[in-house]
Symmetry: C2
Subunit: 416 residues, 2 copies
């Protein structure tokens, strides 16, 4: 088992030594190979139309209309059922997406480069809260916002990043953790710090004052703006840790609203899947647990690098928001995650735990030994298409994924 220990140390080293930098924003088809007509990337492990949940179907129909592949939502649903669209996980294309996680040709994606390892990862731009496509929204308001993001916001961010150079992300995360962000359900600090970083360059890059004001306002009103940046960062940090022989460290966790998928370093791109669980949390006025869709999104990539539910101790304000109990209970979540991780990130510390580093590098052996599954802070979508977000909560990765993963790793090592 010495071999596993060494392999896991190497996986953790690669995660910790990452140097993620937000370098540019480009239309997805320019940077992600294979994104053409009728190709739709979604959150989570692979899934077919017939097994997709309500909000995922809603988003599929919406994005087909947005891309001009279908005349309307009904046409899109027929085309989807007829097999006209090609569905693939974001993770198969170096990308990640929150909740439904739609990534298609015309949408701008943020590009995070891990300069220590030379790899890149992609994520679309966060749309804001409420009725948005990532939560299954698909009406004209939702599509108009996506058009503005593609036509105005994406190019503005690209120009600004080109002008000022890329924005290193690790320092922003470090500050955000000291300001109560866990980078999954709470990103207000990092979103504001990001705006501080980019605003002067946006001012120089935008020639039209009203456009500039709109861009600053859009970013400034969205407390979750930074989530998608954190996700692309997470993907860029975990990809180099994949494919290490005998390593039992998790390199991806994601959900499509039907299945939960886990990847483990030793077995590279292979998925271990099990039915997703139902988030338990708090609901917006007028909604309840019975409206909730099961767990969804690639956003659990942030837990994979020690943030989100793993960093709950630093975010007592979010503990209340996701229904995780009182502020003083928040530390319990983080302390439990120390039991299933390989180490701590000395650059990302939590003042509330006297500056202990976040628990990093989920070891599937420890998950199985302790029976403690990774805790994920998540948004909750309405189970029907077109409604949007109805709450936020906490959910667990299903144990069955880790059981299968251990078998997979054992098999890869010739133990069976």
């Amino acid at each position: 088992m010495q071999k596993i220990e060494l392999a896991n140390k190497e996986a953790l080293r690669r995660i910790l030594e990452a140097q993620p930098v937000l370098v540019d924003v480009k239309p997805a088809h320019e940077v992600i190979k294979g994104l053409g007509r009728n190709v739709i990337l979604h959150a989570g492990p692979p899934i077919t139309w017939d097994r997709m949940c309500g909000p995922m179907r809603g988003a599929i129909c919406g994005i087909a209309v947005f891309e001009g592949w279908s005349a309307g939502l009904d046409d899109a649903a027929k085309a989807a059922a007829a097999g006209e669209f090609s569905f693939h996980p974001n993770h198969h294309f170096g990308a990640v997406g929150p909740m439904t996680g739609m990534t298609t040709a015309s949408q701008p994606v943020m590009i995070v480069e891990n300069s220590a390892f030379g790899n890149r990862a992609y994520c679309t731009i966060n749309e804001g809260l409420g009725k948005v496509m990532r939560f299954g929204g698909n009406d004209e308001e939702v599509l108009a916002r996506l058009r503005w993001i593609a036509d105005v916001l994406g190019p503005a961010l690209s120009s600004a990043l080109t002008l000022r150079g890329g924005i290193p992300l690790k320092g922003i995360i470090a500050r955000g953790l000291a300001m109560g962000d866990e980078m999954h359900q709470r990103n207000v600090a990092c979103s504001a710090l990001f705006l501080r970083e980019i605003a002067p360059a946006l001012a120089r890059a935008c020639t039209d004052r009203d456009t500039l004001a709109d861009v600053l306002s859009f970013i400034g009103r969205n407390d979750q703006f930074f989530l998608n940046i954190a996700m692309a960062m997470g993907k860029s940090m975990t990809d180099p840790a994949g494919g290490i022989e005998a390593s039992t460290i998790v390199t991806a966790m994601c959900r499509n609203g039907t299945d939960f998928g886990v990847r483990v370093s030793a077995t590279g791109d292979r998925w271990y899947t099990a039915p997703v669980e139902m988030p338990v949390g708090l609901f917006f006025p007028g909604y309840s647990q019975s409206d909730a869709n099961p767990d969804m999104g690639d956003s659990a990539i942030v837990e994979t690098i020690g943030l989100g539910g793993f960093a709950m101790a630093t975010a007592p304000a979010v503990a209340g928001f996701v229904g995780a109990g009182s502020a003083s209970e928040a530390a319990n979540y983080t302390n439990a995650m120390y039991e299933i991780t390989e180490g701590r990130n000395p650059e990302w510390t939590m003042p509330n735990l006297d500056f202990a580093g976040v628990p990093t590098g989920i070891d599937i052996r420890k998950v199985l030994q302790t029976g403690k599954t990774p805790v994920i802070n998540t948004g909750i979508a309405h189970k029907e298409a077109g409604v949007g977000q109805v709450g936020a909560g906490v959910v667990r990765a299903p144990l069955a994924c880790f059981e299968q993963a251990l078998s997979g790793v054992a098999e890869s090592m010739g133990i069976s």
Copy 2:
């Protein structure tokens, strides 16, 4: 003593019901009556040139050159010694200023209006960190920055505020407390949230793109930008609580580097003074306790409304910065301040203390009963003129001020 209890409840009510709004930025002489040639407002209670400390003298000389009243620093010192300048506390003019606290005719001041009571308070714009006038800096770099603030930044902020309307401040403070700010030595969250609020209006108000970029960059690079806004807010909140017969609630605490001054509601504008104490803290590389100037500035107005050292529990990151011990010890400071205050602010809560409100309304009787003096988080200036900030630390309000204040209140009630 029923009378005192009722009076103190009324004082606390007035503090808690304040509605501070940042409404405009204007040259000081336009809004503060009596600010003319050779009139210099300073931090703390009244003081004469011969008793002023090094950095206060340095700032006096610098601001006289800035205003064009003296040809150089030496000339200014001679003019000051010859009695040519008229010195007054900021507090006598509805203003407050951090550290040396220079307020003169040409400097732009931020105007905070307490819309619940109709009063206004003023504070200059924060210059940034290091060698700046509030820490006694007075060379050409310092004066050039003040000129840019007066000529560019002040007018830009004024135009933006006029365009968007005033910015209510209580909500920003509430969010900042949940993000680790205590609004005295840590203002990074509120500074960033303020930039989010004002940036779109700045974009619409500034006609020149480079100027706009400079303004956004100046605010964005200064983690203490919000301090001066918080101070004007504090002054606007405590002024209406003054002059309540029999109330033993503190309405102002301030220091001029030589004397500490306290005002108590029952006796209105009267000062109770005692020698300031020496802050104990951490020093920037190359400096030590022997370089430190005694306690200075009107900034303790934030402690008067329950922030700063009183809210240490919510700011474990600042506890380390000011040398107040480990993060887990930070709550001890706040808990002690509950023993000397009239109540808690239900709108300003601290997640780390399970959302307890900040301790508000210092009761001089409780200070004397417990022997626990108000704790203040403070910047530390070099004791010589012209150097600037050398550290940050914690300091106590001297007990003697509170002893005198109790006598003063007793006297005002006919008890002697």
